[in-house]
Symmetry: C2
Subunit: 269 residues, 2 copies
């Protein structure tokens, strides 16, 4: 929605109370509630997040995948979905729900409820529930000076290729990182610059970047600002062996920022 | 969406797996998950559920209230909300979120996450979490011959008055009914005929109606088909003292149906 959205979100946040100790509400990839219950919600909209002529099966898949990625980014495991569909009468609902069902099956999070209604614009809103399975949720805050910064795969491929039709969130990788002690984590949905920026802001630290793995056919700028790769970015103490790509390390100096500082962002929870 | 929606919902349901024993997924007011976790999601859409020129504060309230009512209908207590807003740029977001925050405060269920995005049509989708506080959830299924049928207040007022701007879900009444042993329950959102019909279908029973309490200024038809009153309808064994209005009793003969059998319905979970 552009930069005006940030101001709106700040005003909106001020309307809502803060969580009790041990819980996280608005401001991370997912909320962390009592008992390690994780929950997140994101809507995708025709003409904004996908083209009007997009295959409804892909739209259904994407609506689930972007939400599952938010659970992955907490080091969690998705457990259930609720899906509300607001759709014009010409939309192929069977295709849309086939895509939803395929992603639900792939990520083992059944659709337990939802709503179907008429609308002039197709809006698919998904809420995903998840669990930390007794571990601590990995937040955006927690990166400490000396931590190594990793990404789970090369970046920029989505932007370079016109975006993946069926993004695949990194659930297994997120859980592995959490088990190994990741100190912070986020999914790279808005671009490395923006999402790394969220980790630095939440953790009140800076970063020194050595090298960024760029996907085949993509440029540095794609990797930094393209978004929608749905790889995970995490930080972890040095010396821990992980199956991911190191890109730099965390420093105390908060003025050490990544390049391409302006990505885009459209979520507040 | 009219009668075509029922066919679509039947096809959609066939795509999704059935729940394990002890859980309820699609088909009741809310899903019942492990540990008595309740969850429901409903979207409201400009031009469908409210007028384009509606006060955004009322729209925000309504989006929360209709979801809270689904938790009330299980005999549950709402605990948290997730809200996705897809909105045209001219919408007064501050007003909308003030309405959301007011209802969240009134029903003690804080907004813990969500999403704000651009859209040509205003769609407010809410997911509500709730708890049974260790009791059994009260389902649509469970009404047995001899049970008395109650409603928590007179019906038809919403339809007669042009619909309430700020419906008030009956959370306390739902919990009281559950504690006293209600055998089935539903919220009267689509009209008494349709919603009582859901209870009869799910419970595989019939009903004999004695009298229906009609709200001031409303007609019998308003009461049976108007919808959006958000009173609760429940059944309970005879002889239990409850603070509600009896309208009839359950019989074994499934051919004994209420009058005005065609209401409207737009949810599948």
């Amino acid at each position: 929605m552009g930069s005006g959205e940030f101001a709106a979100i700040d005003r909106i946040r001020s309307l809502f109370p803060d969580p009790p100790p041990g819980q996280v509400w608005i401001g991370d990839d997912a909320a962390v509630l009592e008992g390690g219950l994780l929950v997140a919600a994101d809507a995708i909209v025709a003409g904004v997040h996908f083209k009007y002529e997009a295959d409804p099966v892909d739209v259904g898949w994407r609506a689930v995948a972007v939400n599952v990625s938010d659970i992955a980014a907490m080091g969690g495991r998705p457990t259930a979905l609720l899906v509300t569909v607001a759709a014009p009468s010409h939309v192929d609902l069977d295709g849309l729900y086939r895509g939803i069902a395929a992603a639900a099956q792939k990520y083992s999070c059944p659709v337990v409820g939802g709503d179907l209604t008429n609308s002039e614009t197709l809006v698919v809103s998904v809420t995903v529930l998840g669990t930390t399975d007794g571990r601590h949720a990995v937040l955006r805050a927690g990166a400490a000076p000396g931590d190594i910064v990793y990404v789970t795969g090369p970046l920029g491929g989505a932007a370079a290729s016109g975006y993946h039709l069926r993004p695949e969130p990194r659930v297994a990788e997120g859980i592995e990182s959490a088990i190994k002690g990741a100190t912070s984590m986020i999914d790279v949905s808005d671009g490395l610059a923006a999402d790394l920026g969220h980790v630095l802001d939440a953790s009140r630290v800076g970063v020194v970047i050595d090298t960024v793995p760029v996907a085949d056919g993509a440029t540095d700028e794609h990797a930094w600002t393209g978004g929608e790769d749905y790889e995970l970015l995490f930080t972890i103490r040095p010396g821990v062996k992980v199956d991911a790509l190191p890109i730099g390390h965390i420093v105390e100096d908060r003025d050490k920022r990544p390049p391409y500082a302006h990505g885009w962002e459209h979520t507040f929870g």
